[in-house]
Amino acid sequence: MRVTTSDVILLAHATMGVLGTLSALWVFVETLNAQPQNAQRIRSIALIVAILMAAAGFLGGYWYLRFYPVERALILKGPWPFAHNLFIETKEHLFLMTLILAFYLPIAARDRLYSNAVARKMVLRVSMLIVLTGLSIEGAGAVIDHGVKVALLRPATERNPK
């Protein structure tokens, strides 16, 4: 078995993104039932969302700059060039919006959600936007991964025509 640094960083990036998205869903559910008893928990989880998304961005950004060019070349020569042209381009920029929303969530969660309907509404909307954009980004990651796979699975005659 050979696990490279690239593999570790890429999988850690995806894991942080999934955990950040699940934590945002956790904030959403807790906020639906906001009470004085869970106010501190909501604030803590909102902070965890920000930390996880920042970690996902740092790891993903490093991998994208350091290791992605090799995969990009493969994708662009394969049958799914749109995995790069459309999906990674959208993903890398959409993520920046998710990151800003994740940084905002702990700020929005500082209000008294259990007694303030508009503050509750704001946290519900922001956490749901993080979930939706997070899921879209994960889906785009799967398409990019498949773009590499179908490029590598092409028959050798197609890759190296005589």
């Binding site: 459309l86 959208t90 920029h93 990151l99 929303l101 905002y104 508009v118 503050a119 704001m122 936007l129």
Partner: protein
């Protein structure tokens, strides 16, 4: 706005509006740097890669505008429901706009 109506906190409103503006800025910058290559090259030079520069610009804009909007008490000037709708619309338009741009570009 009635003084008794529920309001967002000062920071929540200020940084919420900043997040909406940053989302729109992020999509506008992504499209502009692709369409205008000198900007892309300039951004490559600032932080080593245009994406890194864009990430830094987004974070700085969000923090800067958030502090400014909080300082000018945006919560007193904008209805909270309007601000929430603006944020949701900005993120959705920006997200769909990015996808549409890369579909066409």
């Amino acid at each position: 706005m009635s003084a008794d109506a529920p309001k967002l906190g000062n920071a929540s409103a200020g940084f919420g509006l900043a997040a909406a503006v940053t989302a729109l800025f992020n999509t506008a910058l992504a499209c502009t740097k692709d369409a205008y290559h000198p900007l892309n090259e300039l951004m490559n030079g600032i932080a080593g890669h245009n994406w890194t520069t864009q990430a830094l610009a987004d974070v700085l804009l969000f923090v800067g505008l958030g502090l400014i909007f909080s300082a000018i008490h945006v919560t007193e000037k904008m209805k909270p429901n309007s601000l929430i709708s603006f944020l949701v619309a900005a993120v959705m338009i920006s997200g769909v706009g990015l996808f549409a741009w890369y579909c066409l570009y």
